[in-house]
């Protein structure tokens, strides 16, 4: 039905041009006009992006919905879009989350609402483009451009220390990515093409692979973010407006994980293999150490930010554990590798929903009380019973309760880890305890007990808009938790092809 339309171009450019239109309409008149316009654009984009799912062929790992036109012939840079099982779910996650974010800022953002909404729409288009670009420079353009609206968002609508946080965010990400740019140029020099798929096939020596791998690591590790380059994230999250935090946690972090899948591992499989211990180590430190760090936070947003880092540790763990699964003599069949990679992908999508929900929840409280300190709350359940029910549900899924999406990804990765090494699985599984500890303890302190103060006593429960946001996310979390099959089906062919590719040495 959609195959003859350039669907990817439409869902990339519709929100970007829509964002420009919102920007141009300005803040002179009634803000409701631009809000409705933005919402309509976001919903249209989401509906169109569902077309990707409807027409997706799950039997092939080849790129689908491909668009290929020359862009800059002098450097053989092409306008090259296409999706496979890895990128398609992330694109739908992006267009879905943007709707919620626009709803979340509805009455709350009073300062220059048109610029605020335009930033989100433009960012949506850029992020979808990042997920679907198949030309390395084309990818890089969107990857960098995406930082600008986020930089503005945090800087203009952020909290107290917003300038510090946003500059730190920009510079950290920029540092990582310019080294990736040099690596891309080097591969162009070697292979004569910026096409990502041709880079996958490019022969590289071990020495080259290690340097290129490290350059990619600099870019993606900052984005994920992995310990020890995660320090920008708590700052950025705490200072960002609710919508910014949601996009940051739900989508932008995923771009790091996606980068490992699209670039690092297929382009430099041998370097990834020989340095997998490093990534596994960094991931486990993230899961365990950052879990403990989350435990002692007093600021709710900071706590969720740290929990994001810990959860993203599972993604990198799942991706890089595959080499050790293959090598483990006790696991002659070599099975479990697909489980690990699929687990990592499910974890990314699920974390998109759950972290989005957690930040939106904090946003709901912050809009009413203007503080994120855990100590300032207590007994919220007495004044906001409906909200408390959602909060407990999302907290449970953040802690990985079976039946929610949080459980599926983590469980798959832990299960796969057993096939590599018992201790990886053991350390990874600690997250089930730590995650439960820090999330539930926060819920206990905020929602239960006596009503702490008059501020809490005066709280009003969710309004319709907030209820719709929360309910949508709760359904998504439940569906993915109980019935992950549709996503796994989409992933399957691509995962097999990916594993097949990285198992062959380039040397």
């Amino acid at each position: 039905m959609f195959t003859d339309l350039p669907l990817l171009s439409i869902i990339v450019w519709l929100p970007i041009l829509g964002g420009v239109a919102v920007l141009l309409s300005g803040d002179k008149g009634d803000a409701n006009g631009v809000r409705v316009l933005s919402l309509v654009i976001a919903i249209t984009t989401f509906v169109l992006s569902l077309g990707l799912y409807a027409d997706f062929d799950t039997s092939t790992a080849a790129m689908q919905f491909v668009e290929h036109r020359p862009w800059i012939p002098a450097f053989d840079i092409n306008y090259h879009f296409g999706v496979d099982g890895f990128s398609m779910p992330l694109i739908i996650l992006t267009s879905f989350t943007t709707i919620l974010v626009i709803l979340a800022g509805w009455e709350v953002i009073k300062k220059k609402p048109s610029q605020y909404l335009a930033a989100f729409l433009i960012m949506e288009g850029l992020m979808i483009a990042v997920f679907s670009a198949l030309d390395a420079i084309f990818f890089y353009v969107f990857w960098e451009a995406m930082l600008v609206p986020m930089f503005i968002l945090i800087g203009v609508w952020g909290g107290e220390r917003r300038v510090y946080a946003t500059i730190k965010f920009f510079i950290y990400t920029f540092i990582g990515s310019v080294f990736m740019l040099v690596a891309l140029i080097y591969m162009y020099y070697k292979g004569g093409s910026f096409s990502i798929l041709e880079m996958h096939a490019l022969k590289l020596t071990m020495n080259e692979q290690v340097w290129i791998f490290l350059a990619f690591l600099a870019a993606f590790a900052v984005k994920v973010p992995m310990w020890p380059v995660h320090t920008w994230l708590p700052d950025a999250h705490v200072e960002a407006p609710t919508g910014g935090s949601v996009i940051l946690a739900a989508i932008m972090l995923k771009i790091g994980g996606y980068g490992f899948i699209r670039f690092s591992m297929p382009i430099t499989p041998d370097a990834a293999h020989s340095l997998d211990w490093l990534i596994i180590l960094m991931s486990l430190v993230a899961v365990v150490y950052i879990g403990f760090v989350a435990l002692v936070q007093r600021d709710m947003k900071k706590l969720v930010a740290y929990s994001s880092i810990a959860h993203m540790g599972f993604v990198t763990l799942g991706l890089f554990i595959v080499f050790q699964i293959w090598e483990n003599p006790a696991n002659a069949s070599g099975g479990g590798a697909a489980l690990a990679v699929e687990g990592a992908m499910i974890q990314m999508i699920s974390h998109g929903f759950i972290s989005g929900a957690m930040f939106l929840m904090i946003g709901v409280l912050y809009d009413r009380m203007h503080t994120r300190e855990i100590n300032a709350y207590g007994g919220v359940v007495h004044t906001m019973p409906v909200f408390a029910a959602f909060a407990v549900f999302f907290a449970m899924s953040n802690a990985g309760l079976p039946g929610t999406s949080g459980f599926v990804g983590e469980f798959m990765v832990i299960l796969a880890s057993f096939q590599a090494n018992f201790w990886y699985a053991f350390l990874g599984a600690l997250t089930l305890i730590l995650g439960a500890a820090y999330t539930l303890w926060m819920v206990k302190r905020v929602f239960y007990g006596e009503i702490a103060n008059d501020g809490v006593r005066a709280l009003k429960d969710l309004n319709t808009r907030e209820f719709v946001i929360m309910a949508t996310l709760a359904i998504a979390v439940l569906v993915l938790g109980l019935w992950p099959a549709p996503v796994v089906d989409v992933l399957h062919a691509s995962v097999e092809n990916f594993l097949q590719h990285i198992s062959v040495s380039k040397l």
Partner: protein
């Protein structure tokens, strides 16, 4: 010698502009101050007509004129095109600025036109003498323009510095040229190139000796470290209109001078000058980017940022390949467009008795004028090399050229310093968007300025979204 053999027709744009400059000089004398606008209109009209001549004059083939003193080729045509367009922009931006300061005088336009003639001659020079005369015509006009606001102490100081250091550089250049003449017996670039390829032993050493002086002089004129000392003071001290004139189009002429001297004449010594240029380039990248962080004056910051951009341009040139030269040319053109916009914004913010040249003066620009804050943001992002702006493609092209000759470490140094560089560009955006306005007076400027500045900013964005046209233009010049 007959008139035909002079082949005057190909120098038509220069001849026309020179005539018009003289005409403006004479006409302006008879105009009362309130009719000064006529000078302005006449100046812009002559630039537009020159542009038409340049466009109609564009032949694919290389042609020589005036007994081979003057050359018309693809590089010259392209660079002249942008020199005239950018100078046109400078004049549009500076009109109200000059009026507000009571320095809306004919001299500005006459000297400006002569300097443009000088630039065009440099670009088309095929002979050392021609090159030198073009350079001096440009420089002398600029020295006078810096001191143009007579009663301003800073401007006089800047002019003095500029003149003394510029004269030293010209001396160096002449000295190097005279050695070259002694060794090759000719001032023609092509004959020097032949002499270089024949040179052996002691003669070769002599050539390298001359080369050192020429490289030093070029580094002076372009403002590469360690010969950059004049730039911050001159940029800051001059009236912004003059800074814009110095900081934009002459860079294109400087690029042409490097191409004519170092590539066309001394291309045989590429291995020798490459080492010198590597040093100049690394130092410029380092010093320019690091010191720019400490600046509070916007014009001074742009001076240091220029120094770092010169490092990038030199990086493309030192590659010594056609891709390298075309990337350097692409970089120079996009840089000139970006800095034109940057100075345009400063002049937009300035008003009577207020220079608006401190970074803090941009505070809260997003509240005062979201549109021009957006334009300035594009300019800053482009200078920082963030896509999708043209600055990113310029950096990409240069880095590709450098990686192509296996100097990956140079590419890494370059990106390392651009990371440092990003900080001060971000600070400008931070000031515009995140800080509250101190100065709430609305921005007032004429429709012409608004249109020109918007076009300028959008061009940076449009060239970033579709750089293919300009890029293939630059590539075709050197193929």
């Amino acid at each position: 010698m007959t008139l035909e053999s002079l082949n005057i027709a190909i120098a038509l744009p220069e001849i026309f502009l020179l005539t018009m400059a003289c005409l403006v000089l004479v006409v302006d004398v008879y105009l009362p101050q309130e009719k000064r606008n006529f000078t302005y209109v006449l100046t812009q009209l002559s630039l537009i007509l020159t542009l038409v001549f340049i466009l109609s004059n564009q032949g694919e083939t290389r042609a020589l004129a005036f007994n081979d003193l003057f050359v018309q080729d693809a590089m010259a045509a392209t660079l002249k095109l942008f020199i005239v367009i950018i100078s046109f922009g400078v004049f549009v931006y500076s009109r109200e600025y000059l009026q507000a300061r009571n320095i809306f005088k004919g001299e500005f336009y006459v000297l400006g036109l002569f300097s443009i003639v000088g630039m065009m001659l440099m670009v088309s020079a095929n002979n050392l003498l021609m090159l030198y005369l073009g350079l001096e015509l440009l420089s002398l006009c600029l020295y006078a323009l810096v001191a143009f606001n007579r009663d301003d102490g800073n401007a006089s100081e800047a002019a003095m510095k500029y003149f003394v250091l510029g004269a030293i550089a010209s001396g160096m250049l002449l000295y190097g040229m005279s050695i070259l003449y002694g060794l090759s017996g000719s001032l023609q670039l092509s004959e020097i190139a032949q002499a270089v390829s024949r040179a052996e032993g002691a003669q070769n050493i002599g050539m390298i000796f001359a080369l050192v002086f020429i490289v030093v002089a070029l580094a002076f004129k372009l403002g590469a470290v360690p010969f950059h000392m004049w730039m911050p003071d001159v940029y800051q001290g001059s009236p912004t209109a003059v800074t814009a004139l110095i900081g934009t189009a002459p860079k294109l002429a400087g690029f042409a001078m490097i191409m004519r001297l170092m590539v066309e004449a001394l291309g045989g010594l590429q291995a020798d000058w490459q080492q010198m240029v590597i040093v100049l380039s690394v130092l410029s990248l380092a010093v320019g980017n690091v010191i720019a962080i400490a600046q509070t004056n916007l014009k001074r910051m742009l001076a240091y940022s220029t120094i770092s951009h010169v490092g990038f341009i030199l990086l493309g040139i030192l590659a010594g390949t056609a891709e390298g030269y075309s990337s350097a040319m692409f970089y120079t053109i996009s840089y000139a467009l970006m800095s034109l916009g940057g100075f345009g914004i400063i002049m937009l913010m300035a008003r009577q008795g207020f220079e608006a040249d401190n970074i803090d003066d941009l505070k809260g620009l997003n509240q005062r004028s979201p549109w021009f804050a957006f334009i300035m943001m594009i300019l800053m992002l482009s200078m920082a090399g963030v896509p999708p702006t043209v600055g990113f493609w310029a950096k990409l092209a240069v880095l590709t050229a450098v990686v192509d000759i296996d100097l990956v470490w140079m590419a890494i140094i370059a990106v390392f310093f651009s990371i440092i560089g990003i900080f001060y560009y971000l600070r400008v955006i931070k000031v515009m968007y995140f800080d509250d306005a101190v100065d709430t007076q609305p921005l007032e400027c004429g429709r012409d300025m608004q249109i020109a500045l918007s076009t300028n900013g959008l061009a940076i964005l449009a060239l970033g979204l579709y750089p293919a046209a300009l890029m293939s233009l630059c590539v075709s010049v050197f193929s």
